[in-house]
């Protein structure tokens, strides 16, 4: 048969095997969606948080609560016993405690930013009563920009992380598995071209990549409302290059190791630093400045930066030549090294 048929059949087998592995489906498709949903929910910047203030019973209580009612961001809890109010304050269940008097006494924890906000709100609520002014001091113009929420930052990072994880696990495990079964040796006594074996891994990765991207990007776009500002071509180029690069890293990691355990260990060793330092969950700019150039050389950093630039900033990949070059270099080098050191026996 022809070279092409050989690659097609090897790829078909890889794809079939993947779809017959329920755990793989979970990790590739379900897990990232759940993670994005959970993190997106946990860190949502859900508008302005109201402040909760504890008011202790006493002379002039009515005047205070009346003033606070004017501000929709002030929630009032009334306590008959002073100690109970302070107990809540210690547990940060209320942002401050106010005791009626002239002037009313406000207690708060100066280290909590919520407490500072609550203090300003309380002061402002009491101000008109003090000097009788009713006109607002400034005119408010709310600006709501999508693309600046945490989820908008997070989502491209999760996509990048997923491309890394599925590429490396998918390919690395599959190779470790054929090796463990001594199936690789069986292939070695056929005239199968070694390059076809590798190409089939890349091809099957591309099949999953398309599915993965469609499912995840669809979820991000339509459910989480993450913007996709850049052009589709740039987006696909970045995804494909990233996917292939990490498939190459997967081959490299599995190229000499004989056991599944060995492969998982090595895999974690390679991926762990990138989970932390490549700007998945938080920007790598939080690391010291001197490290930035090094961090930008990591493949996942380059992938995440390109994804963010294309999705959120609406850039074209052409504007991000350096990230592209970093990925392309990783891709070329990992494949060359993997082919060189791959242990067939």
């Amino acid at each position: 048969m022809t070279r092409l048929q050989e690659i097609r059949e090897l790829t078909r087998v890889r794809v079939l095997l993947f779809f017959r592995e329920p755990e793989a489906i979970f990790w590739v498709f379900v897990f990232p969606i759940v993670l994005a949903a959970v993190l997106g929910f946990a860190f949502r910047s859900g508008g302005i948080e109201p402040s909760t203030v504890a008011v202790v019973q006493g002379e002039g209580l009515a005047r205070l609560t009346e003033a606070f009612e004017q501000d929709e961001y002030l929630e009032v809890e009334i306590f008959e016993v002073r100690e109970e109010a302070f107990d809540k304050l210690r547990k940060a269940a209320v942002d401050l405690v106010i005791e009626p008097g002239d002037p009313p006494r406000v207690s708060f924890d100066p280290d909590r930013s919520e407490a500072a906000t609550a203090r300003l709100r309380v002061e402002r609520a009491l101000m008109p009563a003090a000097d009788g002014a009713t006109e607002p001091l400034v005119q408010l113009e709310p600006v709501t920009e999508t693309g600046s929420r945490y989820i908008d930052f997070l989502f491209p990072g999760l996509l990048g992380m997923n491309l890394m994880g599925t590429g490396m696990w998918g390919v690395g495990f599959a190779i470790a598995d054929v090796r463990r079964r001594k199936f690789l040796r069986r292939l070695m006594v056929t005239p199968m071209r070694r390059s076809s074996f590798f190409i089939s891994f890349i091809m099957s990765r591309l099949v999953f990549l398309v599915l993965e991207i469609v499912v995840l990007a669809g979820f991000g776009r339509w459910i989480l409302g993450v913007p996709f500002r850049g052009d589709v071509i740039s987006f696909m180029i970045v995804c494909v290059l990233g996917g292939v690069t990490f498939a190459g890293l997967g081959i490299l990691v599995a190229s000499r190791v004989r056991t599944i355990e060995g492969v998982s260990g090595l895999m974690n060793l390679v991926m762990m630093p990138m989970w932390l330092a490549s700007g998945v969950f938080f920007s790598y700019e939080k690391f010291p400045d001197v490290l930035h150039p090094v961090l930008r050389l990591l493949p996942l950093t380059a992938l995440n930066d390109s994804l963010r630039a294309v999705m959120i900033d609406g850039d074209s990949i052409l504007q991000h030549g350096s990230e592209f070059a970093v990925l392309a270099c990783w891709c070329a080098v990992t494949f060359l090294v993997a082919l060189k050191i791959f242990r067939w026996e």
Binding site: M1, Q5, E6, R8, E9, L10, R12, V13, L16, L17, R20, E21, D177, V178, R181, K182, F183, R185, R186, L187, M188, V189, T190, P191, M192, E345
Partner: protein, 304 residues
């Protein structure tokens, strides 16, 4: 192959083996565990490079035209595990795609008798069916030589016989077979020529009947003594009996290689009576490859 040598560190797994396989014949390679059978056959298959000696397969050498040889041979390895989650047909289709020429997948499915399991996953196959599938993968390119490494180890007698039928049908189509085994029966049934290996050396070669004849005995007489140490009977005493070619102590029994079985048994009864001993558990059988093997190496072919 000539003067083949393979070392693993200090261990010499194959120590100067040479043999030739006649086209259309079946060569059986017989030997106990660790004799070097797998090592030898894997060198022939091009999986391992030899440390010394030369190998030619179908008139070619592995260094010069590996792909051409691979196109024309079929291989079943001792320990391959197929992917459980593929079906019989999917697996065969993949192997078929590696070869330029070969047979139709359905006809291979028929040859190995797995029509009913065509769409079953590998996981659901029995041991014998898996082994036949493994041979099926080796038959897809209509090979000129089929290499089988212990194809029936661990199978029950019925599964073993079905597999032999597959091999016989390949042979009857003019194919050449190289087969390793620990089973005498298998070697006697399938092999036209045999070599017996031990410690990486050839210790006997020839057709099965010629090898048995080389023992110079027709039968083996085995017996034990009731309530006495068998060493009560000295080697000389037994060797002196008319018709005994050789004798060995085997655990609690004594084994005699003999010609003229009735004469030896009569002599043996006589001797035992004279010594006032009691015979127990006497039996005799026609000499087999197993006996040749035991007399050559002092070991059983199989541990079981």
């Amino acid at each position: 192959m000539r003067g083949l040598v393979k070392r693993y560190g200090d261990l010499v797994a194959v120590d100067g083996i040479d043999f030739e396989v006649r086209p259309g014949a079946c060569l059986g390679v017989l030997g106990p565990n660790g004799a070097g059978k797998t090592t030898t056959i894997e060198i022939l298959e091009g999986l391992k490079p030899p440390d010394g000696g030369s190998v030619e397969v179908l008139g070619r050498s592995w260094n010069e035209s590996p792909r051409e040889i691979q196109e024309r041979i079929g291989v079943q390895l001792q320990e391959t595990e197929f992917q459980d989650k593929l079906t019989v047909f999917e697996l065969l289709r993949m192997f078929r795609s590696f070869y330029l020429h070969g047979s139709d997948i359905e006809s291979v499915v028929r040859t190995i008798g797995l029509q009913e399991k065509r769409n079953a996953r590998v996981k659901t196959l029995s041991g014998g069916q898996k082994q036949r599938l493994s041979i099926g993968c080796a038959l897809l390119n209509e090979p000129e030589i089929l290499f089988l490494d212990e194809p029936t180890s661990g199978l029950d007698p019925q599964a073993r016989r079905r597999l032999w039928e597959v091999v016989e049908s390949f042979k009857s189509g003019g194919g050449t077979v190289v087969l390793t085994t620990h089973y005498m029966e298998e070697a006697e049934r399938l092999a036209d020529d045999l070599i017996i290996l031990d410690h990486g050396r050839v210790i006997a070669r020839g057709s099965p009947s010629a090898i048995v004849a080389s023992l110079g005995a027709e039968s083996v007489v085995r017996f034990a003594l009731a309530g006495t140490d068998i060493h009560e009977l000295a080697e000389d005493e037994l060797n002196a009996l008319q018709g005994v070619r050789s004798m060995r102590y085997e655990g609690a029994t004594i084994s005699l290689s003999v010609v003229d079985t009735p004469g030896v048994i009569a002599g043996l009864f006589d001797l035992i009576e004279r010594r006032g001993l009691v015979l127990e558990d006497l039996h005799t059988h026609r000499a087999t490859l197993e006996d040749v093997f035991v007399s050559l190496t002092g070991k059983q072919l199989r541990d079981d």
